[in-house]
Symmetry: C2
Subunit: 286 residues, 2 copies
């Protein structure tokens, strides 16, 4: 089960999920100018970052929107980035938030669990129902693949649907979480977490302890650290015995080189230092 | 407003939204064998179908999953298909069901409303909230683009989340529908429908008349015809004065050539005949 590899990575390398939401404008100009195509530049930037952080992160999350936005040449950089993460023996989460059913979902599974865009995990959107998940299960069972299904996100708009009250004790996201947790029990690793995990934003922490207890087999992908306001002391509320979740940061790590403190080091060294800082900050509260 | 063009198409060419969910296995073998690459075959098949139906359909819906599944070469066929729809002066709906926020959503807008993958409409998934929609509005306002946001889908799993009860009178999908309808009022065309439409499955028809009345400015993209069990007499309940919606069919049109009745005609002619049949069946109930 892929979840055991992720669990071990957290135990040995910390909780950081490095978000490669790489906008081309994030590349330092002198670096970008070395490459004749946008796609080459994007990939080269990611490659340097991966090379310099793969020993200190649990996994990488690659947000496909940033590559789709540049069309075919962007997606070539996406493909190469995933291949390089694999080459380095690291775990890649394809942040694609796909959500569709039947044959269409099968095609998405084929797209992101094999071929050009093969990743270890992919994110899914459950709005259409649990039949958005079933076509992926064969890959979870037989091909060492995993899922992170959106449960509760860290954006302002989470109140619009995810927070709608269903009854006195439950909101939409609670129902989704319970279903995912239940569904995941057939795919438990040795670590007792499931290869079907959940996305759990860390910006509403009042219910953190309850959520962690209720969804006992659900490994969390936790966005919202840094730029979106999540703090290390809050994030650890979503962990259990120091494991059970990875914490994503993107812009703060990608653009670390713009900080004054890193004026005299390369962009990759700046990202490495910032990643170590984030890792240690989380570990200090575990 | 792009919605006026779609409304006019419905008035003059009928309600059919031709779904180009083209699996490579759908191509007749002797046709597929003419092409040296999978991507060339996929595109050539779509091209023949578009050429033979563009005068009798309201629009095309291209389901990106079927192209993503084949990686870079599939996406090249996706790109060429969209370009050819545009060349023929027709409307393309990118069925991508993306749903993300802030900068990521901006990147998705750039991806599907400009460049290699430019379409006229795209489908969105609202689970994360209304801030999944706002980054697209600039394109709706200034660039003749439109959206179809998932409200209620036609699959079995729709009961899992979309049908959760919020209060005595409302389910999750009612709340989503109301928000979309309200949101869309700032983007009304001359036809009095909004360029922000909704996906409304036709398989639960008991509430059809209420839904059509409640969401008075929302143009519907209606899946579920044919293969998924929706009938023409049910579908017209989601229309008003014979307009206000397009009806998608994919497999029944793509694979028409497999029907015995079309044994002696080309695959494109079979699809054309089946499209005319569907168009006329819907019109007969309007």
């Amino acid at each position: 089960m892929i979840i055991d590899k992720l669990f071990d990575n957290v135990a040995h390398k910390g909780h950081v999920c490095f978000g490669l939401d790489t906008d081309y404008s994030y590349l330092p100009t002198d670096f970008a100018n070395k490459f004749s195509t946008l796609g080459d530049g994007l990939f080269a930037f990611n490659k340097e970052l991966i090379e310099n952080t793969c020993d200190i992160v649990a996994c990488y999350k690659v947000q496909i929107a940033y590559y789709e936005a540049y069309g075919m040449k962007g997606l070539l950089a996406y493909k190469k980035t995933l291949a390089y993460i694999k080459e380095k023996g690291c775990i890649a989460i394809a942040d694609v938030k796909r959500g569709d059913i039947a044959k269409t979902a099968e095609m998405y599974a084929q797209a992101h669990f094999s071929g050009d865009f093969e990743a270890d995990f992919m994110t899914l959107n459950p709005y259409m129902g649990l039949d958005t998940i079933s076509p992926f299960l064969q890959y979870v069972k037989d091909k060492e693949k995993g899922l992170f299904v959106l449960i509760r996100t860290s954006n302002e708009g989470a109140k619009d649907i995810e927070y709608l009250p269903i009854n006195e004790n439950q909101r939409v996201y609670n129902v989704v979480g319970e279903k995912i947790n239940q569904y995941g029990k057939d795919f438990l690793g040795k670590c007792n977490y499931s290869s079907i995990g959940g996305v759990m934003g860390c910006t509403h922490v009042s219910e953190a302890i309850q959520v962690r207890n209720d969804l006992e087999s659900t490994f969390f992908l936790i966005p919202g650290y840094g730029a979106q306001g999540g703090k290390a002391e809050d994030i650890v509320l979503y962990l259990k015995n120091g494991n059970g979740g990875v914490v994503n940061a993107s812009r703060s790590l990608l653009l670390a080189y713009k900080k004054e403190a890193y004026n005299n080091v390369s962009f990759a060294e700046a990202s490495r230092n910032e990643t170590i800082k984030m890792r240690d900050e989380i570990l200090s509260f575990v």
